[in-house]
């Protein structure tokens, strides 16, 4: 007996086909899950503010906000190179050999200095390798640090306030008439 108008999909499926469908379904849902977690995870690739524990509880509010120390005193390479750079321990000791030496954090700092043991800061702003960015050029155009890094001078603990994605860069480049050619950043 032969079914009339029988359609391939109505045929009982083989085990292999069923297994393959399952795998595909898992992968598809997994991909969606990855995308969701990628943006929702409280980590450096998320939208949310990210503030990992740093080896020294350094306060930008105190130094850059209240004391009005210029950003480039510590991040001295911003105007000279692509990286802004993190100050060496000896730079901290320029002041802290004499100032607030009884504080617990400064004691920790002094210990690192005395033992010649470098500090391991957690990097909170990072761009993927496919992006080329130069601090030097932006500083030369007198763009304020806060334009990209948010109100850093108000932060008691280090935190990433701004998400640096492509639209963030492009918006500003368009507003200011900076080049938006692909090779400007992806070279």
């Amino acid at each position: 007996m032969r079914k009339i108008g029988g359609h391939a999909s109505l045929k009982p499926r083989s085990d292999i086909a069923r297994f393959a469908t399952k795998i595909l379904a898992v992968l598809a849902v997994g991909f969606i899950g990855f995308v969701v977690f990628f943006y929702a995870a409280p980590f450096q690739y998320s939208f949310s503010v990210w503030a990992p524990d740093q080896p020294i509880a350094y306060s930008h509010k105190l130094h850059a906000g209240d004391l009005e120390i210029n950003c480039q005193y510590c991040h001295a390479y911003a105007r000279r190179s692509e990286m802004a750079g993190v100050p060496s321990v000896s730079k901290c000791m320029n002041c802290h050999s004499n100032l607030t030496i009884d504080s617990e954090q400064i004691a920790k700092l002094t210990e690192h200095y005395d033992q010649d043991k470098p500090l391991e800061w957690i990097r909170i702003y990072d761009l993927p390798d496919l992006v080329w960015f130069s601090h030097k050029r932006h500083i030369a155009k007198e763009i304020a640090c806060q334009k990209c890094h948010g109100p850093v001078q108000t932060l008691v603990t280090n935190a990433r306030l701004v998400k640096h994605n492509m639209s963030f860069c492009l918006n500003c480049h368009q507003e200011n008439g900076a080049p938006t050619d692909c090779l400007t950043c992806h070279m």
């Binding site: 399952k22 849902v29 977690f37 995870a41 390479y77 060496s88 000896s90």
Partner: protein, 750 residues
């Protein structure tokens, strides 16, 4: 989909999502605790001008450092020696700086371990105290210094210390003996410095066994000069002819290669001179030379007629005539002698013969109104000489005689203290001297340097030196290339280990021993030199203070006269040199060997590891020898056709035996070598020089005997004959491509 499946899929999806998101690990930023003096520029880095000390040439280099680490060596474009170029050895300076086998602390020999590299760590205080104590004991009782460079501040300090110890036994690095050149120029030019041959301004250059692009005093300089000669003149392309027994890398770029018998290049030079004089006579040139002088020259050259020269040298008459014709027709020409002239028993006479040829050619050029070649150093105020004197660089440093004297004294037990500065004489001196045995006999041997090597096996105390990229120094290059040059050397990185500049260590010990050296540190000496001579350096603004002048010199790499860089100076008259006919006699070379020794041994320095002091750098070991395309190894080059006749294939291990010793090496078939010649590279066969070179190959110096170059006392290290025998074993050799195969593919089969 039922509920169970939905949950399963949901769980899997969540897990993969979390796994994906967690793949990123927080990156760290680890800044310096104390950054280098000039701070850190994390990306662009800083560039420092300093002086390359990988060999003695004294090229100016610029080193890029990023985050306090040396990354790349480039040539200093303003430096008159290298003009922006830098060779592979210079590039490898970075690898040497970060070499894992560097000595990191002072070391003292463990009891009864002489002959091995077994040491225990000690502190600098202890090391200096030991050295000071030994100095006190050695005063007036016999001591020596062997230096790796005789032209820098360290050499000067060690020479002065040695003087305080009451000794004059200071020996330089050229232990294979190259003193014949200055000896010959002393006779002909009444000066004892090496000649500068201005290839850049010549239109015809005749290289007599001079491998100027490989192991001359500065291959980079000659590379530049060659470019100038070829293309510097818009209307004329310079012509290069090479004569010698092997097609070296230098010979390979020549327009014309002339195969000559070993040790006959001096005869060839006189043969060419003879033909040139014949032509001069015929065309009534050189009228400024008095007739009697001319007649004496002809008489002296009588025996170097075309036929005789051709017979003695193996060079066809046509070739000799061709060379002579080029000397006659070219605007300015010069003959440059090399190792193949000086390293045979007739070396000194041969050098004189080449200088005689040059003298005639110079007069010819003058006649043609085209004298461009300042091949005689022309420094009326003797500024360079005075600078050298001020630094206190010993004059007779590189004499092989001194080496012989030291070894003899040591063997007789007359030496109490030996100081060896970053050099490996146990490896690089000819075996007949037996430096190892001599050092074993010395009461205390102190080694200053960066690496343990064959010589440190006999050292009692090791004082680790800064690498040259870590230390201050100043150098007056041995060979001023027509200019007086003062090379400044500054550190580009902070010292990596607990090391101290050798000069500094010597000064400290000397002070402790109570010797009054009239200076506290190396820098003081350099500053004094600048202060003393800056009035004569118009390039340094006179308004600057002394310390400002030094700071002004550092970023440029030093001082050199800009006068000579602009236009060549006319060579001074050579009238007083004309009466040289009694000097013109070149005997046939004498070779040490028996009848059964049918091959001539042609030991040579490769462009990569040179005499072997850089053999521990893998960058250089990996680099191919340019003409036979081999790397990572030791070989004996044999003529391809001759090898076929003898049934020898590439890689067959042969025993090479001379009257004095025997070594093994794999055969490298090479068409560019005479059928009766075997070429072997120097620099292999280290015993204890770290992981890479130790036990690799054998040392050619084992085959060379004590046969002198004339009466100079130098060894005639190419005057040896050898025989070969097959061992039946074979070695697979590392070769970049295949010369013959590629040649056929590209040239003949298309």
């Amino acid at each position: 989909m039922d509920r169970r499946n939905f949950l399963k899929l949901g769980g899997a999806a969540a897990a993969s999502g979390v796994a994906g998101a967690c793949g990123q690990v927080a990156k760290k930023i680890i800044p310096y605790v104390v950054p280098p003096d000039d701070g850190v520029n994390p990306v662009d880095g800083w560039h420092y001008a300093t002086t390359c000390r990988m060999c003695g040439a004294g090229c100016g280099i610029i080193v890029r450092t990023v985050e306090g680490r040396a990354k790349k060596v480039e040539g200093n474009p303003n430096h008159p020696i290298n003009r922006g170029g830098v060779c592979a050895r210079g590039q490898a300076a970075v690898q040497q700086l970060y070499h894992p086998e560097r000595i990191r602390t002072p070391l003292k020999r463990r009891a009864n371990t002489k002959g091995t590299n077994q040491f225990e760590k000690i502190s600098w205080e202890e090391a200096i105290a030991i050295l000071a104590d030994k100095m006190k004991k050695a005063k007036g009782k016999g001591s020596f210094v062997m230096a790796s460079d005789t032209t820098d501040v360290t050499a000067s300090i060690s020479a002065q210390t040695l003087k305080k110890l009451g000794s004059e036994d200071f020996v330089g690095p050229n232990l294979k003996g190259l003193q014949s050149h200055p000896d010959a120029s002393k006779v002909l030019h009444s000066m004892s410095s090496e000649q500068y041959y201005d290839m850049a301004h010549a239109s015809f250059v005749f290289l007599l066994g001079a491998d100027v692009f490989e192991n001359s005093v500065s291959p980079v300089h000659y590379g530049w000069a060659f470019g100038q000669m070829r293309r510097g003149n818009p209307t004329h392309r310079g012509v290069l002819t090479y004569a010698g027994p092997r097609v070296s890398m230098t010979a390979a770029v020549a327009d014309h290669f002339i195969a000559a018998k070993q040790g006959t290049l001096g005869i060839l030079a006189l043969g060419v001179a003879h033909v040139v004089l014949d032509m001069v006579e015929k065309e009534r040139l050189l009228r400024s030379i008095p007739r009697p002088t001319m007649a004496r020259w002809f008489k002296a050259l009588e025996v170097y007629s075309l036929e005789t020269t051709s017979r003695r040298t193996g060079v066809p008459e046509w070739d000799i005539k061709e060379v002579a014709k080029k000397f006659m027709t070219h605007r300015s020409a010069v003959a440059i002698p090399g190792d193949d002239v000086s390293c045979y028993s007739n070396g000194v006479e041969s050098l004189k013969a080449v200088e005689f040829l040059n003298m005639i050619v110079r007069e010819l050029n003058r006649e043609k109104g085209h004298l461009m070649i300042p091949d005689l150093p022309h420094d009326e105020t003797n500024l360079f000489g005075r600078m050298k004197d001020f630094l206190g660089v010993p004059e007779k440093a590189s004499q092989f005689r001194t080496m012989r004297k030291i070894v003899k004294k040591a063997a007789d037990g007359e030496i109490v203290l030996g100081m060896i500065m970053n050099i490996d004489p146990v490896f690089s001196a000819p075996r007949f001297l037996d430096v190892a045995k001599a050092l074993d006999n010395v009461d205390t041997v102190v080694y200053f340097g960066c690496f343990l090597n064959d010589t440190t096996q006999y050292a009692d105390l090791i004082l680790p030196d800064h690498h040259f990229l870590e230390s201050w120094s100043a150098q007056l290059p041995n060979y001023p290339h027509g200019y007086p040059i003062f090379n400044a050397q500054q550190p580009v990185v902070r010292p990596l280990y607990d090391t101290m500049p050798s000069g500094e260590a010597l000064l400290k010990a000397a002070k402790k021993a109570g010797f009054n050296l009239k200076m506290d540190n190396q820098e003081e000496m350099i500053e004094k030199l600048v202060t003393e001579f800056r009035a004569e350096w118009p390039e340094v603004p006179q308004t600057l203070s002394d310390s400002q002048a030094w700071e002004f010199l550092l970023p440029t790499g030093g001082w050199w006269s800009t006068l000579r860089a602009v236009e060549p100076v006319e060579a001074p008259s050579t009238d007083h040199l004309w009466d040289v006919s009694d000097q013109l006699k070149v005997e046939d070379p004498v070779f040490s060997g028996e009848l059964e020794h049918t091959f001539h041994l042609h030991p040579y320095e490769t462009v990569t590891i040179g005499d072997g002091r850089l053999a521990n750098l893998s960058w250089l070991q990996e680099m191919v020898e340019p003409v036979n395309s081999l790397s990572w190894g030791f070989w004996v080059e044999i003529n391809t056709v001759r090898a076929e006749q003898l049934g020898i294939a590439q890689g067959d291990i042969l025993t090479v035996t001379s009257k004095f010793g025997s070594i093994e090496a794999p055969a490298a078939l090479y068409p560019g070598i005479g059928p009766d010649t075997l070429a072997m590279p120097f620099g292999y066969g280290h015993v204890s020089f770290g992981k890479i070179p130790s036990g690799q190959g054998a040392n050619v110096l084992a085959l060379i005997g004590d046969q002198g170059v004339g009466k100079t006392g130098e060894p005639a290290w190419r005057g040896v004959k050898v025989k070969i025998a097959k061992t039946g074993r074979r070695k697979k050799m590392v070769r970049e491509g295949d010369m013959k195969g590629e040649y056929e593919g590209e040239v003949f089969q298309l």
